[in-house]
Symmetry: C2
Subunit: 429 residues, 2 copies
């Protein structure tokens, strides 16, 4: 997309956005009507509209009888309902999740498949293609797809690091540079523009657009899963940070003298609040659970040992969230991942420590919620990323705009993705 | 400014920005030239240009001989060099600082005056008016002033909190709601639009535009002064947070069992890293210094006790910065305030702990710098806030744009504001 970054391309894209936004808000309009509303010259407008018709984003409607003036038929323009599909793909550690929306932002379909850890990128991309092919009863055509937003595990946007030493070792993450390679491979496989980001950050974006934090423009999201990660939505947009390493809440130190972390650090939040760390702590205290679902079930059934573990973890989580809240001042804090299935047994202690350590002036403004989108968060976030980047689908507001009107959101279509009990561990981040 | 927030006003402002930006980049242009470059219709363009000429932002130049075509003189349009002044005012605890730039973003002048703590707002605003009157040798006219950006101590943007209880007690800060009242009073006193924000956050913005972090779009700023505060610049814009409480790095807990803080919390960074806390620690260890300047001078002269205090403080500061860096991923971290005058005696230990606790992948990307703008940071940040908000002065880039070109910055004119030794304590935040 780099060739689209120049000032003239931006100006043209601004004009396209203007036209598409008017058609979305007002419904069908004539070229003259578009001219009046946009202030664009006749030449510019015909050029822009011509491009949009060629791209399939806009269709010309047959002239209506009432629109004829002086006997000359006047063509109206409207959004092409068949155009503007956006696809989200989440490449989690051991599963691929896909979802798609149409130009009206209705979810056309979603699909998921588990796979063994360490599957090659060739096979993961082939799996994604196959899953996308199953959407909408197999009737999904790729040629009107506006873009794909893909979520990956690990850092995205980080420059490839050369040389020896710890900085060159990506540890448990995908190697730096993977994101760019995957983006290029996807673009080749699907033949459409592809945007990539970290899948936990995408889940944060999805929660802010369609999930627990709908309508809030400043959201802090924490995911407590096999790994611990997070994401920040700032002013309605996903915050990537200068080097693609934002949202790494799992690697904030909670105990400088604590145990080693997979990241190469010591005493990180992930060493005490990941699914593995929680199960270890539970078993060390005499508890018995085959997996995290068993653990949260035991906690909900009144197991005091499990509740004690959740209290200790919740306090550590609350301390980290308080530090970040003081720095960033989010409107809503969302906690997701398998551990959040424990509900208030976890969120109660989180809220208590968060409230105690956040700036007293901010206490009454705290808004802590459980994530709402479950395992499709990453894929839906990929769609949101496409909506941000594409004027063809960008109902998602530009910065100075107020939030989208509730009736424009596909919330009702997303109820299928509410969290539910699972027997299989979730795969990301 | 609320009446300027509608979609049509935004569209018009977008057109104005387009025209002004072209005149800034290309120099004088004819209306025909502007039409070609902007794609705006003749009607829209004449309307926009007419408004800009009436507002005094654009002037018509006499037709040049070479510009005549078919004997008809063609008027050219250019930016009015006399227009577009922006004024920054920092209302610190015991001083008022003012600065002004013209439409070319040259600093026209700056002035400062100390005053007793607790001076009434009437007198502080009168002092600000008098100081502004001294700028540019007293020749500054207020009628071309585009806007004023003012910095205040304490939260800005926080809804007024009612009811009893700790949340209603603003502690050492100005009461919630003060910012709005001061903004209205300033608008009345100066007769121009006024933008307000927290003065430490404004200093963060100024460092990102003209100071230590020039050119970076993601900046974390920490100020170690009589209070400890901070600010975040995200994607080139000042981050306010959902409730105006972002950047409160001084109230991140460093020791849950620590001493009480003025904010009502316990063990906050401010309880160990403020000027007062550092002097207390130094004196408790047997050191003797009349004030913070004496302390930093002693440290630089090889006083081992002072260096030990700075090491301990630096480690706590580094830990807090690491947590925020992991969450936010800034490109540059800037440390300012009187304690930063100790230079590497403080920044060395800060860097050491920051590097140890930041995500290992991010270590090689760390960029820690000492603040460059000194006591005028808040006032210059106020100017940057006006530049952001006003199309008349907005060379400061909109989000998708690259940073301003170095030669467009008034950096050379700001050298007077580099940090220098002071015998008087600084007044903010």
């Amino acid at each position: 997309m780099h060739q689209h970054d120049g000032p003239l391309a931006r100006l043209r894209q601004g004009h396209e956005t203007l036209v598409l936004d008017l058609l979305r808000r007002h419904g069908p309009l004539t070229r003259a009507g578009l001219g009046t509303h946009t202030g664009l010259s006749r030449t510019t407008l015909y050029d822009i509209v011509g491009g949009l018709v060629t791209a399939g984003a806009v269709v010309t409607a047959p002239p209506e009888a009432t629109a004829r003036r002086r006997g000359r038929p006047v063509e109206t323009l409207s959004l092409n309902p068949a155009a503007g599909l956006a696809i989200g793909i989440d490449f989690a550690r051991r599963a691929v999740h896909v979802a798609a929306v149409n130009v009206a932002h209705e979810v056309v379909g979603s699909a998921s498949e588990q796979h063994p850890a360490g599957l090659s990128w060739d096979r993961r991309i082939a799996l994604a293609r196959r899953l996308v092919g199953t959407l909408a009863g197999g009737s999904l055509r790729l040629d009107p797809v506006t873009g794909i937003g893909a979520g990956l595990v690990g850092p995205v946007g980080l420059p490839a690091l050369g040389g020896p030493g710890p900085a060159a070792d990506p540890g448990p993450w995908e190697a730096a540079g993977t994101a760019e390679a995957v983006r290029d491979r996807l673009a080749e496989a699907f033949g459409v523009p592809v945007h990539v980001d970290n899948n936990t950050r995408l889940a944060a974006l999805a929660e802010s657009v369609w999930g627990a934090a709908t309508g809030s423009r400043d959201v802090l999201y924490l995911r407590l899963s096999h790994g611990v990660g997070g994401g920040l939505v700032v002013g309605g947009a996903l915050h990537g940070g200068a080097h693609g390493l934002s949202g790494e809440l799992g690697h904030i130190t909670v105990d400088p003298a604590g145990g080693p972390c997979d990241c190469g650090g010591r005493g990180c939040l992930e060493t005490v609040a990941s699914v593995g760390a929680v199960l270890d702590a539970y078993r060390a205290a005499g508890g018995r659970a085959a997996d995290i679902a068993g653990f949260t079930a035991a906690a909900r059934d009144g197991d005091a040992v499990a509740a004690g573990v959740l209290r200790a973890v919740g306090s550590q989580v609350g301390g980290v969230l308080a530090a970040v809240c003081n720095a960033v001042g989010p409107g809503v804090v969302v906690v997701g991942g398998e551990l959040a299935e424990a509900g208030d047994l976890l969120l109660g202690p989180v809220r208590e420590t968060l409230s105690a350590r956040v700036l007293p002036l901010a206490r009454s403004l705290l808004d802590l919620r459980r994530a709402a989108l479950g395992e499709y968060g990453g894929a839906l976030g990929g769609i949101a990323l496409v909506l941000h980047a594409s004027p063809l689908l960008a109902h998602y507001p530009a910065r100075p705009e107020p939030g989208p009107r509730p009736q424009e959101r596909p919330g009702a279509r997303l109820q299928d993705h509410q969290p539910h009990d699972r027997t299989e561990p979730e795969e990301s981040p």
